[in-house]
């Protein structure tokens, strides 16, 4: 038990892909430790974000295929199934906070996209 807790506190960076593989203002899906994670590249901010790919309302692995945009100050993706918004920084579902998902830290190093899990 305590070992698990300790290991999850250690940030583990997993290299996912070349940054060039990301098209501006769209998403892709990565498989990291058996988990589906959606990765988005927002061109204007030159920033990469990562959240769960699973849409808990539509119950399908589709969030990487949604449209990216802003709601006020928040950067979000809209689920391609039923259009709920998920905050790319926090994973919060704007319409239904009880359906919020996990957001992951991302960094770009030497042209590679790395996600913290």
């Amino acid at each position: 038990m305590s070992e698990n807790a300790a290991s999850s506190q250690q940030t583990q960076w997993v290299e996912v892909c070349d940054k060039n593989a990301l098209d501006a203002d769209t998403g892709v899906c990565a498989l990291i430790d058996g988990k589906q994670i959606a990765i988005f590249y927002v061109g204007k901010l030159d920033e990469v974000f990562a959240i769960d790919n699973y849409d808990p309302i539509g119950k399908a692995n589709v969030l990487s295929r949604g449209i990216i945009g802003t709601q006020g100050e928040r950067i979000c993706v809209a689920s391609p199934l039923y259009k709920e918004h998920y905050d790319l920084r926090t994973g919060e579902c704007l319409e239904s906070p009880e359906h919020s998902i996990t957001a992951y830290a991302v960094k770009v190093e030497n042209g590679k996209v790395c996600v913290a899990v």
């Binding site: 098209d23 203002d25 589709v62 449209i67 945009g69 391609p80 199934l81």
Partner: protein
Amino acid sequence: MSKQRVIVVGNGMVGHKFIDGIINSDHAENYEILTFSEEPRLAYDRVKLSSYFSGSTVDDLMLTSEEHYQSAGVVYTLNDKVVDIDHDSKTVKLASGKVEGYDKLILATGSYPFVPPIPGKDQPHCLVYRTIEDLEDITASAQESKVGVVVGGGLLGLEAANALKNLGLETHVVEFAPRLMAVQLDEGGGNLLRRKVEALDVNVHTEKNTKHITAGEKHRYRMEFADGSYLETDMILFSAGIRPQDELARNCGIDVGERGGIVIDNFCRTSVEDIYAIGECALWDSKIFGLVAPGYQMAKVAFSHIDGGEEQFTGADMSTKLKLLGVDVASVGDAHARTPGAQTYTYEDGVNEVYKRLIVSEDRKKLLGAVLVGDVEAYGTLQQMCVNSMDLPDAPEQLILPTSDGSAGAAMGVDALPDTAQLCSCLDVTKGDIVEAVQGGCCTMGDIKAKTEASTGCGGCAALVKSVMDNELKNLGVEVNNHLCEHFSYSRAELADIVRVKKIESFDELLESHGNGGLGCEICKPTVGSILASFWNDYVLEDKHMGLQDTNDIYLGNMQKDGTYSIVPRVAGGEITPDKLIVLGEVAKEYDLYTKITGGQRIDLFGAQLHELPAIWKKLVDAGFETGHAYGKSLRTVKSCVGSTWCRYGVQDSVGMAIALENRYKGLRSPHKIKFAVSGCTRECAEAQSKDIGVIATENGWNLYVCGNGGMRPRHGDLFATDLDDETLVKYIDRVLMFYIRTADRLQRTSVWLENLEGGLDYLREVVIDDKLSIGQELEDDMTSNIGKYQCEWKTTIENPEKLKRFRHFVNSDETDSNLAYVVERDQRRPANEKERENHIPTVEVTA
């Protein structure tokens, strides 16, 4: 506390309202409800009874259902009549012999049609007009009759006359009084109504007192009148007034009025303890109320009294407004100027057949009543002034005089109405209720109806309710704007103009020059993407457009509920060769795709995963297929019937035309999807009138229908132009579509667009046919340019290795989505539902 047992005798409109009131109250659980009806069904809408003749079914008329009563615990018995009340033992006895005890008894027995005691009245084809069974009898009788007479020229009689006319009978109205609607109208109003009704081919005979009904010579019966004249007819419909159904009360020692009606007090109590009477059977202050609204009020009052409340019934406004035989008629308050000292103002326009009369108090400060025939616009204002005793303006005649610009007279500002003003009398909704609903967030009539039920009865108050709503929205400072979303303070149509005129070619360019900052969202991005495609028609997956594309467009397929896609190749006009059909079959088999024929005459292959799309499409493109744009807000299909090439009836080659049109407009991005159909003759087998663009062959060319719709809110297309040659047909379609693309709102189908287009169909004709705006050539040029840039998006995509990279589930792995699960049904696979997933019903392996 034990439940009170409430028995409701009669399940008509008012009895049902009473029950509904208990069910919906906070104390519903304190009551056990039983109801008995003599009729074979639960309550239905008698007010709308006549709509049965214009297509409404019994189901449409029902006010409730057996399921609803069952789920609310209401015990009901149909086809059984209460024949006795024993108020000592507090029981009722039924015709079937059953006896039931009550704590409270509600008499809601309504009324029955009065048939004058004329010898010969009891023969076949002598009918009345009150129940659904009556309507069935009338319909049956009309089939064996040529001439029909309505006895009675009141409200109901004229409604009945309309029904007979609709059934195709030569129709007469016979009235005892010197004028029609004697109860509601004065002489001037009655005379004008008569002229109007006669103009509609209904023969009116006033001051006729029928003495005998005997066998006729030319027709079934002869009606002999007191003045010696006669009229021959095949059927007779009595509508000479109603009489309260008080027989039960009368026989059981409950006080009834001299001329009928169960006497009630302000709490709707009868002379016997624990027995109430409501609706048309009740007599209050020596008055019977033959309208539904006062009955509803009584229902409320009676329940309030039983439930310990204080509400009282203190009379009701009997103002009415209705359309009789297409003529608008309204009467307000004391229409006959019976109040001592009453003064009148009369306005009569014989040319336009309008009659209006105001009845005001002696001091000319208050409105006492009004009569309106032919133009009833002032009804709402006048009725409110009257019931709320509001002060009249200095020159009261202004209220009925036309203004110089031809519009109706001075309307009262709704601000002047007190909050207590009852706007909807059918459902007792006040101005205060509407204001509160608007403050609570309602901003459309739909919201208001759902929230307050206002205007859901006879609908007579709709205009007034809307102006109160609009006024309140204005007071709240709500600017009803049509801005696309937070990123653009423009409507879709305005953005389309900006893009077209300023030649803007990308979303970022538009956001920078005309947006409000931010990155855009899932509303403005696809909208602008579609506008750009409508005018410039670039490849939709070009880098600068890719992030704009909606769920479906971005992977050129329709995303299904489990995240897989469907594949729909174009089959123009629904014509397909056997070889191509075989290719579809082979591909579907290879990838185990669920296969279904669509409503648009083509074939849909479901369940393809993202990574499979390119390979599947490569096979299809190689076999000569193109994308069907089933994923886009764009032209879907042009459905066709087989037409003159094969069909015995066809007069033009509908398939050929359908293929030509589909190929011309394929890929055209638009505010919403667009569907066409072409039929080879007037038999219309392709159902073209339910499409955005419908084309129907004639001997001389083509008839063009526009802006039809199936779907959620069906609408028949409007006939736009007739007997067009091929060239003109295409020209008009070009112009209509481009004008739609320029001016429609986001996700607005052509049907709604036309309904909202100022000037409607006539205006559209002026723009397209008469070229009133001088943009005809421009619209055609825009279309030509769009068509010139057509490409099959799938062909372009499979030839572009960079774009193909996006078609894989994982960017860092070749694995596929492990969340997919299927079961086999009717020999094909389909997505497993949640239950099946949980129960681990064996699912089909997905081929990777």
